[in-house]
Symmetry: C2
Subunit: 88 residues, 2 copies
C-alpha cells in the first residue's frame, strides 16, 4: 500500500482493489497505517483519499539512521584504538 501511495494518492477503494481481501479488511489496514503515522486519509465527498505522510516515514528512517550511525561510531572508535596500538 505504501509503495503504491508513493506513486500517487488514491482512494480506499482503489488501494483495496488489487488485494485479495474485503474492503472492510483493507479499510482496517489503512486505519492501522494512519494510526502509525505513515499515511493520512482525507474525506472528499463520499471518497476517502489516502496519501503518504512523509513525517512518519522520516521518523522511521531517522530511527534506523541512528543505529547505523551508532555502528559507524563504534567502528571508528575501534579503528582509533587499533591505530593507538600500532603507534606503540
Amino acid at each position: 500500500m505504501l509503495e503504491r501511495l508513493s506513486q500517487c494518492d488514491m482512494t480506499v477503494g482503489a488501494l483495496a482493489e488489487p488485494l485479495e481481501m474485503s474492503l472492510a479488511a483493507a479499510s482496517k489496514h489503512i486505519g492501522v497505517l494512519e494510526e502509525a503515522g505513515l499515511i493520512r486519509r482525507q474525506k472528499r465527498g463520499r471518497e476517502r483519499v489516502c496519501s503518504l505522510d512523509p513525517r512518519g516515514l522520516e521518523a522511521v528512517r531517522d530511527w534506523a539512521e541512528r543505529y547505523v550511525g551508532f555502528w559507524n561510531e563504534r567502528l571508528d572508535a575501534l579503528d582509533r584504538a587499533l591505530k593507538e596500538l600500532d603507534d606503540e
Copy 2:
C-alpha cells in the same frame, strides 16, 4: 533491546534482565529480532552474545529513505509545474 545493543554487545541474560518477563520470553523476542536480520547471536561457551546487525538496520533505513525520496521528488515535480504556470 536494539537501543541497548547500540551501546555494546550483551548476552541474552543481560538483555533480558531489565525486562519484566521471563528469560524464555526474552529469548523468543531476541529470536524474532534475529530472524528479522536486525541482530546476530553468537555462542561463546554457555553464553549467547547478541549484537546489532547493521545490514538489517541499513535495509530499514534505505526502505524508509526511498519513500522520503519519492515524496521529495513529487514536491519537486509540483514545484516545476507551478513555475511553468507562472511563466505563462
